[in-house]
């Protein structure tokens, strides 16, 4: 557990999960000194995480802050320059472990020529999901069950997003990474997405949702503010507001950013 900002006035004692009940279950998602460099750029600059299961974590930060790279490291899609990533106790990358992980990418990641059903069936087969009722169930949930034979090409942007989500959830994963799932999704559907995320977490799944929209942050159980490959702060939305001394998460984010910058400045 890390607070990336040791110079913060709140001090190490305020480390969020330390103030909440200590986790009983082993962390669902873990990172130790995780680092990824692209040439001179530190996309992920030594991140430590230990996220207990069954909650929704919001990964918040501006574009280019390292959210996607962090998710790719945690899912094993990118290889870390150094450090370690574990999901459900298994070191990533692990192909077998991917059967327990869902990943909704920023791009839709579906085949435009294939129908809704063909797309879903394809990913279901790769994940080893053969239960047809489950597959229909997930399509009902994203309200695509009446468009089984529509080619993805002819779906609206929001429908494609929904199909993409269905493909990521078809195998009932225990840990779900969602990279900006609500981009291009209309407000009504966005509400539905979040309702569904809460249902999944109530069923025991761990969700890590990235976003650069702060108004989604309040729907998460816990937030990680990310900037320049660092975790600026971590805690529940309420905690972060309090520590930021503002009732606006955006302002809190900016404040944590500024504090880190100062910290780096004084360190020099």
């Amino acid at each position: 557990m890390t607070l990336a900002n040791p110079s913060s006035s709140s001090g190490p004692a305020a480390t969020p999960t330390a103030s909440t009940a200590p986790p009983v279950a082993p962390p669902a998602v873990e990172a130790k000194a995780l680092r990824k460099d692209f040439g001179p750029i530190h996309a992920v600059d030594g991140i430590d995480l230990a996220l207990p299961p069954g909650r929704i974590y919001g990964l918040l930060g501006p574009n280019g802050s390292g959210k996607t790279t962090l998710i790719r490291l945690l899912t094993g899609l990118a290889s870390a320059t150094s450090g370690e990533a574990r999901v459900l106790g298994v070191a990533m990358p692990s192909r077998e472990n991917l059967a327990r992980i869902g990943y909704m990418t920023q791009a839709d990641g579906i085949y435009p020529e294939l129908s809704v059903w063909e797309n879903l069936r394809f990913f279901a087969a790769l994940y080893g999901q053969t239960d047809r009722a489950e597959m229909i169930g997930i399509l009902k949930l994203v309200e695509l069950d009446e468009r089984l034979n529509t080619p993805a090409l002819n779906l609206s942007g929001g429908m494609r997003r929904r199909l993409s989500m269905a493909c990521a959830l078809v195998h009932k994963p225990a840990v779900i990474f969602l990279d900006e799932p609500t981009v291009g999704v209309d407000p009504a559907l966005r509400v539905q997405f979040w309702e569904h995320f809460h249902r999944l977490s109530a069923d025991g799944a761990t969700l890590l949702v990235s976003s650069h929209v702060m108004d989604e942050a309040d729907r998460c159980d816990e937030l990680l503010f990310i900037r320049d490959g660092h975790v600026l702060a971590q805690g529940s939305p309420a905690e972060l507001r309090e520590r930021g001394g503002t009732d606006n998460l955006e302002a809190a984010f900016l404040k944590f950013s500024a504090q880190t910058a100062e910290g780096q400045e004084s360190a020099r």
């Binding site: 692209f38 899912t75 899609l77 990118a78 290889s79 192909r95 077998e96 991917l98 059967a99 992980i101 990943y103 990418t105 920023q106 791009a107 839709d108 990641g109 579906i110 085949y111 435009p112 020529e113 294939l114 063909e118 069936r121 394809f122 990913f123 087969a125 790769l126 994940y127 080893g128 080619p151 493909c167």
Partner: protein, 384 residues
Amino acid sequence: MNARRVSAVFVRIVAQFRRDKRTLALLFVAPLAIIALLGWVLTSSSATNVRLAVVNESSQQSVGQAVATRIEAALSGQPTVILDRSITDDASARKALEDKTVDMVVIVPANFDANNRRIEILTLGLNPTAEFSSLSVVQKALVDELAAQAGAVMPTIDRATVYGSPNATELDTLAPVVVGFFVYFFVFILTGISFLRERIGGTLERLLATPVSRAEIVLGYSLGFGFFATLQIAVVLAFVIGRVSVPALGPIPEFGIGLGVQMTGNPLIAYLLVLVLGLGAVSLGIFLSTFARTEFQILQFIPIVIVPQGLLGGFFWPIDQLPDLLQPVARILPVTYAIDGLRQVMIAGADLSSSQVLLDLGVLAAIAAVFGVLAAATIRREVA
């Protein structure tokens, strides 16, 4: 290796292309159209007449004229020669060549005499191949004339070949080449572009977030494109080997569909050769898609990957006649082995007991395996 995941990739590729009618048409109609065109050109190019003029420029007028007259006489006996007697000097002959009213002029030059028995043959020089074939007409006329003067009877030559028929046309030897080449070309392009679309469309990222392995992806792709290659090979081979005659109807004269090229050996072995070649092309397409960022860049591989195989693989020249430095290059190209194997099977009737065919199959399989490993190795190359 999980059979269900491999079959999921296979089924997906078939489903994708089933929807893409235009690409399907390209797979089946395009090779047939091109092969039909080739067959038409190669079989119906009738020997055209050669329009000739004989000009005497000799300073020894009478000697030159005597020679010119004899050449004219010899030429007029040739069935494909049309003599133009209105041209009598070098200048008007050159003009006639430029105006394309004659194809060739035989000139008895100014310095022609009993000691300098050289005549000149003048052509336009724009189309060496056609002019060379006209040249043989003149040579034949002169030989005939000489033989007649000597009272000798020239023997007629009967050609025989160990394999196939001496009447085998260019088409018969080109057909195997065309079959192999098309399959290679189309499979390479389609796989390259399909896989590139996986890379840039974000679906590869998505695939790699599932438990599917790289080997399973390559195998699924090979099965999927192997399936379409199978259909394509069947259609192309049937078209090349078979021939159906369509009777004349109204203004349309009788014509044939299919080339009716000889197939001495077992078509299944020919098919096997092309299939193994095609599987290598699948892996090559996946491998090279790593080095392309757009579909356009896949097309840029055509001059690098496809054209050299066409030039060196035995399409135009036998490998043995290539320059020394190029021979080893030709011997690492898969198309070379496919063409050799196909010729062995189609013309020489070789079967799987032939060490040559086994060698060709073995090399093709080895090339496919090497590129299969390379393809699998590049799949996880980070997109970043």
